[in-house]
Amino acid sequence: MRAPLLAVQGLTKTYRSGGREVKGLDDVSLSVAAGETIGLVGPSGSGKSTLARVVMRLIEPDAGTIAFGGENLGALNGKALRTVRKRIQMVFQDPSAAFNPRATVADVLADPLRIHGLASPAERPRRIAQLLDSVGLSANLAARPVHAVSGGQRQRVAIARALATEPELIVLDEAVSALDVTVRGQVLDLLVRLQRERGLAYLFVSHDLAVVRAVSHRIAIMDRGRIVETGPAGTVVADPQSETGRALVAAIPRLHISHLNREASQNA
């Protein structure tokens, strides 16, 4: 196997709350290969979002290492950190909370281009149109206030913004959880297409095991700050080894069509 794109080792993060210590992360190790999707799933408070934020260095761990592309992320600062950061992007659940409320779609997409010096002011409109096109949006949307577009369009804009720096890894933290179901499928299709075209790796964080299963190569299940199970997506779902894994599989709502049909035909 090639060297992983992302490798975290022994990550630990303890929160203190009202005199109690809560282990947000407890000796977590995980790797993501280039072009791979790792689904990170677990109940509320299991530590999955904390792990996502530690990978982004939005939260500093108490212990452990984060290696990205062979570099120790924790040891980097300033310009060197900015250079690596370009290669990792994040998309959150609620894009309206992630955007400046007064911004237009073009403003949102211009930010990373400007901050990372990726396009001169003259080149930006063309680059913004390209980014919109890559997520299936019309260039006409650029002038619209970002709050005036639909939820699905807004999440596409968030993905386009993440793509602006041509990252190798995108951390998706409940990125489709707030979308309507008919829109959710389209955004998942988009993510899968972008991965195929660009060899992107995803760390796909969600509470919904069924959605995770649909897009992930491997699944890691978290509970109480620990990874309790890791394996190929199909295997984890078909035969979960951990108690949390079994509980998650059992809790997924099933469409009770066949069972109901049987009842209906018996009653007929």
């Binding site: 408070g45 190929p232 709502p253 209906a264």
Partner: protein, 264 residues
């Protein structure tokens, strides 16, 4: 199931006026039957929460209501809190953060059932046990922030049924919970309405979740009722293209993966 609890005819709810007028519900005709578990399914903007608020008389004053809401199942128009219990998505926002949860539940029982303070406190304790809060005695004195999200939602359910309502409306009551807790809360609601003979209106965006226990499913889309039919019929043979689209959008554990299975 015996008879109609409430009958909606041409129910239309409009916000704003003139150019800015926006219809949140448009010409809804629907009978809700006594004792049934009706799931109302819709995406954002479908009007499903407006329907819940209209039934409870909880619409904001600026909303204009046209059409009829009749209550043949009640002798007098039902009162929200007494005859109709509500459970909303965010129990953290429904519960008062500075009052112990026991007092909040007892208050409902005192107000609507005319119980004395000690009686109401006993009832609150019994209700906490009823919604399976571990150690109800100490939970009486707990503040909402000291409870987990799932426990807060159990407390909200206890408060909603404290006035012994005959209709319980749960509006996305499990949407903010993780799937494991969601399954527990759905099982609890299902069991409660069964045992107490309540009518349940379960509002959700998740048709699979509703399919597990609803007797009947009403689908809303763009402020209109798409169809309302017994769950088995609707799920087995959706009568409308939109319902079929909702069913096709469902992602379950048996949905074929969107990616090639082999490792990259």
């Amino acid at each position: 199931m015996s008879g109609v609890l409430t009958s909606l005819r041409g129910l239309t709810v409009t916000y704003g006026s003139g150019e800015a007028a926006h219809m949140a519900l448009q010409g809804l005709d629907l009978d809700i039957l006594k004792g049934e578990r009706l799931a109302v399914i819709g995406e954002s903007g479908s009007g499903k929460s407006t329907l819940a608020l209209a039934l409870g008389g909880l619409l904001p004053p600026e909303a204009r209501i046209d059409g009829r809401i009749d209550w043949p199942g009640f002798a007098a128009p039902p009162r929200a809190g007494r005859d109709i219990g509500f459970v909303f998505q965010d129990a953290g926002a429904s519960l008062n953060p500075v009052i112990p949860v026991g007092r909040q539940i007892a208050e409902v029982a005192r107000l609507h059932l005319g119980l004395s303070r000690p009686e109401a406190r006993d009832r609150a304790r019994a209700l906490l046990a009823r919604v399976r809060i571990p150690d109800p005695d100490s939970a009486l004195a707990a503040y909402p922030h000291q409870l987990s999200g799932g426990q807060r939602q159990r407390v909200a359910i206890a408060a909603a049924i404290a006035g012994e309502p005959s209709l319980l409306i749960a509006d996305e009551a499990t949407s903010a919970l993780d799937t494991i807790v969601q399954a527990e809360i759905v099982a609890l609601l299902d069991e409660l309405v069964h045992a107490e003979g309540m009518t349940l209106i379960f509002i959700t965006h998740d048709i699979a979740l509703a399919s597990g226990f609803a007797d009947r499913i009403a689908v809303l889309h763009d402020a209109r009722l798409v169809e309302a039919r017994p769950a088995a019929e609707l799920l087995g043979a959706p009568g409308q293209a939109y319902t079929a689209r909702l069913l096709a959008s469902h992602i379950g554990l048996d949905t074929p993966p969107l990616i090639a299975e082999e490792q990259p």
